[in-house]
Amino acid sequence: MSGFKNPTRDPLALRVALTLLAVGFVGLLLVLPLVIVFKEAFADGVGKAWEAIIEPDSLSAVKVSLLAAAIAVPLNTLFGISAAWAVAKHDFRGKTFLVTLIDLPFSVSPVVSGLVYVLIFGMQGWFGPTLADHDIHVLFALPGIVLATMFVTFPFVARELIPLMVDQGRDEEEAATSLGASGFSTFWRVTLPNIKWGLLYAVLLCNARALGEFGAVSVVSGHIRGQTNTMPLHVELLYNNYDYVGAFAVAALLALLALLTLIFKTILEWRYADELAAMLRR
């Protein structure tokens, strides 16, 4: 272990200390909370936790959350791909402004963005009275929840894809054009296959965040039990009513959904390891 033999190796004590620090951090900040969620959920046994989940209000919250994510994630994927494609493969006026705008939801507090929708669609807001006249409900209904979720998760896909697509440059697209491919054909056969792994990762992140969003949705949802409560909102409601098993059971389900997406991603990476390696090599 002397420094002479291994000039690139740090002293043993330093290595042990740094490793412990890293493992300690991960354990304390990531693993421990997850373990506690499941432990609390099963505090009164698996039966009780299961009952808390199949209770109608909880099921409704699961349904609202999944529905909102099922609408918001595909739309954001579509917007994200087009935005990244425009920014990375083309030059136009106001490009920097567009990139800043895409980042906006990351810098604005979710609660503020929720309030903005209240100002726009609320009864005292710009469009509220008109919408009410036509019996269209945005606030305290699914459309409001979807809008708030979309706003908060808007940057995920574009943010992941822009650096990736900028890094890949325009060479392959130019080659495709010179070989006679149309714009759509170029996108479908060349651009999309090159970004598919980054895209998958972005969609999974976007989905996880969409399911977990609390602040913005909390403002626009109205917390109507069994109607407009999402899973995170339902967790809060149960917790505030001292129903700890219920709260942690729904929280555990939410965590499980997140874990499932991660497992799904890992399986895909394992299944396509060769292709991934070939793509990463240049």
Binding site: D171, E172, E174, A175, A176, T177, S178, L179, G180, A181, S182, S185, R189, V190, P193, N194, E275, A278, M279, R281, R282
Partner: protein
């Protein structure tokens, strides 16, 4: 049936890239654009390929108003400096690309495409590598795939941007002879960009020496060498 470039100009945001470039070349010529970096040779090539738009000027090629045609209708086979092969496709799929993307009416059948790809693989001496991915090939092999891909569309014009730029000296010399041979066989008009004057003069029928967005001298290699018209050309040739 010739190539006529008439006072083509192009300005980028900060600097002029081409200042009224004109030249004429007969059909089937092998033309080299040679000059230091920033002389505008690549810009001219990209304008001919439709990857860049000229601000002013005209190009007629085989009696077509060349610059008014969209890039994808020009059938200009472009070979890029970094090859720009499609990383996620096999060599065979790369070569077939230009045929696969044709509209249904003009697209060859599956078996015709397969035969054409096999033929081209043979031409570029990569017969057994059709199923490989570009990342599994050497630089010289990638270069040949890029050329086969460009030839697959039966190009009217072959545009080569520093095609040997990333290769070592020995491979360059071999590919030179081979590329010239392919050009003669295919009977296309080829335009070849290089900063290496020795390469340009060894391969081309006609050489255009460029500097600062202008053509300093244009003619047959022997004539240019014998009688350099400007100080820049004589300096460039002796460098």
């Amino acid at each position: 049936m010739s190539l006529i470039i008439d006072s083509v100009s192009k300005r980028f945001a900060r600097f002029p890239a081409l200042n009224g470039v004109s030249l004429t070349a007969p059909q089937g010529a092998f033309l080299a654009l040679v000059g230091p970096s920033g002389s505008g040779k690549t810009t001219l090539l990209r304008i001919l390929g439709g990857l860049e738009e000229a601000d002013s000027g005209q190009v007629r090629f085989a009696d077509m108003n060349w610059l008014s045609m969209p890039a994808r209708e020009r059938k200009a086979g472009f070979v890029f400096q970094q090859y720009a092969l499609f990383k996620h496709m096999t060599v065979a799929q790369n070569i077939a690309f230009g045929l696969e993307v044709r509209p249904r009416a003009t697209r060859p059948s599956r078996s015709e495409i397969r035969d054409r790809v096999a033929e081209l693989l043979k031409l570029v001496q990569l017969d057994d590598l059709g199923k490989r991915y570009p990342s599994q090939l050497s630089g010289g092999q990638r270069q040949r795939v890029a050329l086969a891909r460009a030839l697959a569309i039966e190009p009217r014009m072959l545009l080569l941007d520093e095609p040997f730029g990333a290769l070592d000296a020995k491979v360059r010399k071999e590919l030179r002879i081979w590329l010239r041979h392919i050009h003669d066989q295919a009977g296309v008009t080829s335009i070849f960009v290089t900063h290496d004057q020795e390469e340009a003069f060894a391969m081309a029928d006609l050489v255009a020496v460029m500097n600062l967005g202008k053509i300093e001298q244009y003619g047959a290699p022997a004539d240019v060498r014998r009688d350099p018209r400007t100080k820049f050309v004589s300096d460039f040739l002796s460098a």
